[in-house]
């Protein structure tokens, strides 16, 4: 029996799938991809905020903060998503990007925020700079793949 080719959400795996003769249409049913994206964003933002802990704090204070930070980062994103929704509402009201669904708009704003954090991480003098660089490279590759797919008619507009 022929297995249907896997479908992806991000442009890079979709382009790779297309090059291998698979399905390049966007799909939101790949759990591994969702986990990868979710964990990557969460890790980048966690490391970004973790760097603000002063060196003068005692080890137990730092340990406590790092545990609390896991929840604070989540809170940060919830507030960020709310602010993004207000920005998108405002843009829609002034007739800008009206055809862009809110989730796709959020996707752009969330990725932009994480990328800004990754830029800051990449400039640090520690191992976390590698992670920041990996994020930046992955995002750049994804954007290039999106452009290639758009020009090769493989990324039709989606409501």
């Amino acid at each position: 029996m022929n297995e249907p080719s896997p479908q992806f959400y991000f442009a890079l795996p979709r382009l790779l799938a297309k090059m291998r003769g698979g399905d390049a249409s966007r799909a939101e049913r790949n759990a591994a991809e969702a986990w990868f994206g979710s964990l990557a964003i969460y890790t980048i933002s966690y490391l970004y905020f973790a760097a603000f802990v002063p060196d003068t704090w005692s080890w137990w204070m730092r340990a406590l903060f790092f545990i609390a930070l896991a929840f604070l980062v989540m809170l940060f994103w919830l507030v960020m998503l709310y602010l993004n929704s207000l920005i998108l509402k405002l843009l829609h009201r002034v007739n800008l990007v009206r055809s862009l669904p809110i989730r796709r708009g959020q996707s752009v704003l969330v990725a932009a925020t994480a990328t800004a954090m990754a830029v800051a991480l990449a400039q640090r003098d520690s191992i976390v700079s590698e992670l920041g660089a990996i994020w930046l490279i992955a995002t750049a590759l994804n954007l290039v793949a999106a452009v290639i797919l758009a020009f090769s008619n493989g990324d039709p507009a989606r409501p």
Binding site: S38, L81, R103, S107
Partner: protein, 311 residues
């Protein structure tokens, strides 16, 4: 009980105090709807894990009920393991209600596999049938898929919500979603709904009822599940006996990201032999065998968030 809005007077003192922020309060329903519209696809896993942690600690009665149920379903397992399993069940619940909201609000496509195709086709063509299901997987989604696949109306009987605002929100969102094939009735202690359902069955409609737990004052019958004493709603079996409509056991299990398995079993026919109690008892026993088999296989998706078994 207000049957029109589906409100039960069953909220606990803590729930009353927390009002719209209680576990079953309207705040969380509205927040979920907001999140479905706003969250990108790749953002879900981490927040859902966090919310599972949140509800694992704050929805203590549900957590305790799950652990108590698991002690019977999986005998010999340690209490600690059952707490971890309770977390897994709540995590699956978070995914399931999120995906049901995605379907309801965004009308996204879902894929499904059918186990027992012949029985499902039979339900689809049946002139009046009872679909007996459990608090498992996404029963709302299952009903919507059924209505869509067979172009038939299905009436779901569900437990009323403890908060008026939640009930109103649920009703409004169901109407807004345009699931025209799905009609919701609320389970009440009165006999009015029974007559409505009997009429619907006689007119050839499909009625879907959850038959794994009893909440409130609804009619019930004692039975055994996993060797332990439990109560099962008697309504579906009485309806089947009176209307002579078959009961199709049907379950929806989540098997992946936006992928579901629809499991349909051979129909239970409650035959009238003159001994009403024995006839119903036979049907209930058949149902319990099937329910036991399905729960044993999909215990991690059994969302009976109240203690089912007698202590």
């Amino acid at each position: 009980m207000n049957t029109e809005t589906g409100v039960a007077h069953g909220a606990t003192a803590t729930e009353d105090r927390l009002g719209r922020f209680a576990v079953k309060g309207v705040f969380w329903r509205k927040y979920l709807d907001w999140a479905v519209v706003n969250l990108p696809f790749f953002f879900y896993p981490v927040p859902l894990t966090f919310f599972t942690f949140f509800f694992f600690f704050f929805a203590a009665p549900a957590r305790r009920a799950i652990v108590a149920n698991l002690a019977v379903v999986l005998p010999g397992s340690s209490r600690l393991m059952n707490y971890l399993r309770a977390f897994r069940i709540l995590y699956n619940f978070a995914w399931t209600i999120s995906e049901a909201a995605i379907r309801r609000i965004l009308h996204e496509e879902f894929s499904y596999e059918i186990v027992g195709t012949e029985w499902l086709e039979e339900v689809g063509a049946a002139p009046g049938a009872i679909v007996l299901t459990a608090h498992m997987g996404s029963y709302d989604l299952g009903a919507a898929l059924f209505a869509e696949k067979f172009h038939r109306e299905i009436r779901i009987v569900r437990a009323p919500e403890p908060h008026p605002e939640t009930a109103e929100h649920l009703q409004a969102s169901l109407e807004r979603s345009g699931e025209s094939g799905v009609k919701v009735d609320y389970n009440t202690a009165g006999a009015l709904l029974s007559f409505d359902l009997l009429k619907a069955l006689r007119e050839g409609e499909i009625v879907s009822i959850q038959g794994d737990r009893v909440e409130g004052d609804i009619a019930q019958v004692a039975s055994r599940l996993f060797g332990a004493e439990t109560k099962i709603p008697i309504g579906p079996f009485v309806l089947s006996l009176v209307a002579q409509a078959p009961i199709y056991p049907l379950f929806i299990a989540r098997i992946g990201c936006r992928r579901y398995e629809i499991i349909v079993r051979q129909p239970i026919r409650v035959q009238a032999t003159g001994d009403r109690e024995a006839d119903i008892g036979k049907g209930v026993a058949e149902w319990c065998v099937i329910l036991e088999e399905i729960i044993a296989r999909h215990w991690d998706q059994w969302f009976a968030l109240v203690a089912i078994f007698a202590k």
